[in-house]
């Protein structure tokens, strides 16, 4: 009790001393005062009531709240949030007033919902509560010709997979409830719900090979494999000190990506190149993480979310290209685009403060808030393409902009590189040979290092 009273007394005294407007919110731990003004709550204070860690990222100009495995990011002036890497519309914009990000109850509720909490006005005033599990799911084991599958029925959600030796965690955006206890069966030793995460215990040596959703009825499938077949390592939860780069080997699991003429798979090539690039970056003193370090399926939004969670300094998604014309070859690098016409529409709508397409406007506001990252992304893409152009026999296809899902919502400089065409006989030799992959990794590592060096030099000179 004393632990509760003392902080509350301190808050009350502090508020009395500064005369700050406040609103009382009932939490499971008791009433708490948060800054509120004209129906607008201090979102940082509200989010912290859940126990979330809330930080401001100056480089991105955005706030990030992390609670367990859940994360939400939002930017003052915008009406979009990034929930686990996926753009989500907010009911009303976040405004920066006196250095505080303020939002109305609906906006606070949306941000809280992303963390598994809800804010509602009851008979006793504002109440903060953890979301109860809505969907009731069952977990069963199914065997097919390809091996063993864990099937989660009763939800259309695509949970994030967190695999460690001996268990797999399914992290749901909206908490679920178990319709029945999980019974041991074969490779499945048991399981339980821990907050938003469904933890399934597996036999020794068993791990996740891939995962994917299915429809009619909606269900989520996790294909199991042996650790000798796949080596899935979760990305570290905490951010290591120093410069950090996240490399994303494109595709994986059941998503094979493009196919070469001899059955070569894009997902294997991207993993090999990303691994070799990571090794070179690590050797150069740059901490590097892979979004997948095995043949695991991973949703596009999850890849960006992992980089955001780690507050990476750069994010590079590695792909191999394909085209119907076999003569097309070469490397090309992309970064996220903002259409001039979209920007015009957003500016006009903002000026008139009237309807237009709210999603478009919000998206552009988000883009505009991240214009610094956009410029840096362009420099990263240019650095990559320039190094690839130096490779003997490689054709320069240039730096381009396109609306890639995996680059949407990234809160750091981000680029996607197509290292060559699997549909071209010349390129495919380089893409599939160990020496060719090592050569691609060398130039990609050099490009990232050059980008990081230039960035530090710019920071030193105040550019």
């Amino acid at each position: 009790m004393r632990r509760l009273i003392l902080p509350l007394a301190a808050i009350v005294l502090a508020l009395l001393a500064r005369g700050a407007p406040a609103e009382t919110i009932l939490t499971p731990q008791g009433p708490a005062e948060v800054y509120a003004r004209g129906g607008q709550f201090d979102l940082v204070e509200v989010l912290r009531l859940t126990g979330a860690e809330v930080l401001f990222a100056p480089a991105a100009g955005s706030y990030g709240a992390v609670l367990g495995e859940r994360e939400v990011q939002f930017t003052p002036g915008g009406t979009l949030a990034v929930v686990d890497g996926k753009l989500t519309a907010l009911p009303a914009p976040v405004r920066l007033v006196d250095g505080r990000p303020l939002g109305n109850a609906a906006t606070a509720g949306t941000l809280l919902g992303a963390l598994g909490w809800t804010l509602r006005q009851g008979g006793r005033g504002w109440e903060l509560a953890a979301l109860a599990g809505g969907e009731r799911v069952t977990v069963s084991l199914v065997r097919d010709a390809g091996g063993t599958l864990l099937v989660v029925r009763g939800t259309a959600q695509q949970p994030r997979i967190v695999a460690v030796p001996g268990q797999v965690g399914l992290l749901f955006a909206t908490p679920v409830a178990l319709a029945e206890p999980i019974r041991p069966d074969g490779e499945l030793l048991g399981g339980e719900l821990l907050g938003p995460q469904l933890v399934l215990r597996l036999k020794q040596g068993v791990t996740v090979a891939s995962s994917y959703p299915l429809a009619d009825p909606p269900r989520f499938v996790v294909r199991l494999g042996s650790e000798s077949q796949v080596a899935v390592e979760p990305i570290a939860a905490g951010r290591p000190a120093g410069t950090l780069v996240v490399l994303d080997p494109g595709h994986g699991g059941d998503d094979q990506g493009a196919h070469g003429p001899g059955g070569e798979l894009e997902k294997d090539i991207t993993l090999a190149v990303a691994r070799a690039t990571a090794a070179r970056l690590q050797a150069a003193g740059v901490t590097t993480r892979l979004t997948r370090d095995g043949d695991a399926g991973l949703a596009l939004a999850e890849r960006t979310a992992l980089a955001n969670r780690l507050q990476a300094d750069a994010f590079v998604s590695v792909h191999a290209n394909a085209y119907r014309g076999k003569g097309v070859r070469g490397a090309e690098t992309y970064y996220m685009n903002v259409d001039a016409s979209d920007a015009d529409a957003a500016a006009a709508a903002a000026a008139e403060n009237v309807g237009a397409a709210p999603d478009t406007v919000a998206l552009i506001l988000w883009d505009m808030a991240h214009v610094a990252n956009l410029n840096a992304s362009a420099r990263l893409a240019r650095s990559i393409q320039d190094r690839f152009n130096e490779l003997q026999g490689i054709k320069d296809r240039g730096v381009r902009q396109a609306p890639f899902v995996v680059l949407t919502g990234a809160t750091m400089p981000a680029a996607l590189v197509e290292v060559g065409f699997l549909s071209n006989p010349t390129d495919v030799k380089r893409l599939t040979s160990a020496s060719g992959q090592d050569e691609l990794a060398r130039v990609l590592a050099e490009a990232v290092l050059a980008f990081l060096r230039d960035r530090e030099a710019a920071a030193d000179t105040g550019r």
Binding site: H319, R324, G327
Partner: protein, 177 residues
């Protein structure tokens, strides 16, 4: 339908109209309703080119629909009909056009049959499919600035790489100069 077939059909229609003048009770012949001559319009379509960029292909179309959903449908139908100059198909599956509509914000929505798995591989192929439709519709449909692709009546997040959850504006850098 090729241009030659269309021209032949127009000539045939004129002959049939000329031969079917009904005799009047007074023994005279009713004045024939003069058939409107077909109005020929030039449209520019975009097909995958040899260097991974889209290439322009201009053709003449008879009685092109007025700007609006019908024009969008007509343009996509021409695109589905394929290149007349030997270029690869813009939509590399037996695509059918379910519907097309236009909103007041200048967005066109084109609902196609979904491509089978494996029909589109790689970013370059995917961009060719998506932007062949975007560029062709915007180039020929006044008032349309962006295009969103729907498949089998539903919005899709992506075909693998590109964000298709919102209308897309043309990207001239993906078109051969």
């Amino acid at each position: 339908m090729s241009r030659h077939v269309r021209v032949a059909a127009a000539v045939l229609a004129t002959l049939v109209a000329a031969c079917s003048r009904a005799p009047r009770p007074d023994g005279g012949t009713a004045p024939a309703a003069t058939p409107e001559p077909a109005v020929i319009s030039a449209v520019t379509l975009f097909f995958p080119g040899e260097d991974g960029l889209l290439e322009r292909e201009t053709r003449e179309v008879a009685d092109l629909a007025a700007p609006g959903p019908a024009r969008v449908r007509a343009i996509v139908a021409e695109l589905i009909a394929g290149s007349q100059q030997g270029r690869p198909a813009a939509l590399p599956w037996a695509a059918t056009l379910h519907a097309a509509f236009v909103d007041r914000a200048g967005n066109a929505f084109v609902d196609l049959s979904a491509p089978p798995e494996g029909a589109i591989e790689g970013t370059a192929d995917e961009a060719a499919v998506v932007y062949a439709v975007v560029e062709s519709v915007v180039a020929n449909c006044p008032g349309v600035e962006r295009v969103q692709l729907l498949f089998d009546g539903s919005e899709v997040a992506t075909l693998g790489h590109l964000d298709l959850s919102r209308p897309l504006a043309p990207r001239p850098e993906l078109v051969a100069p």
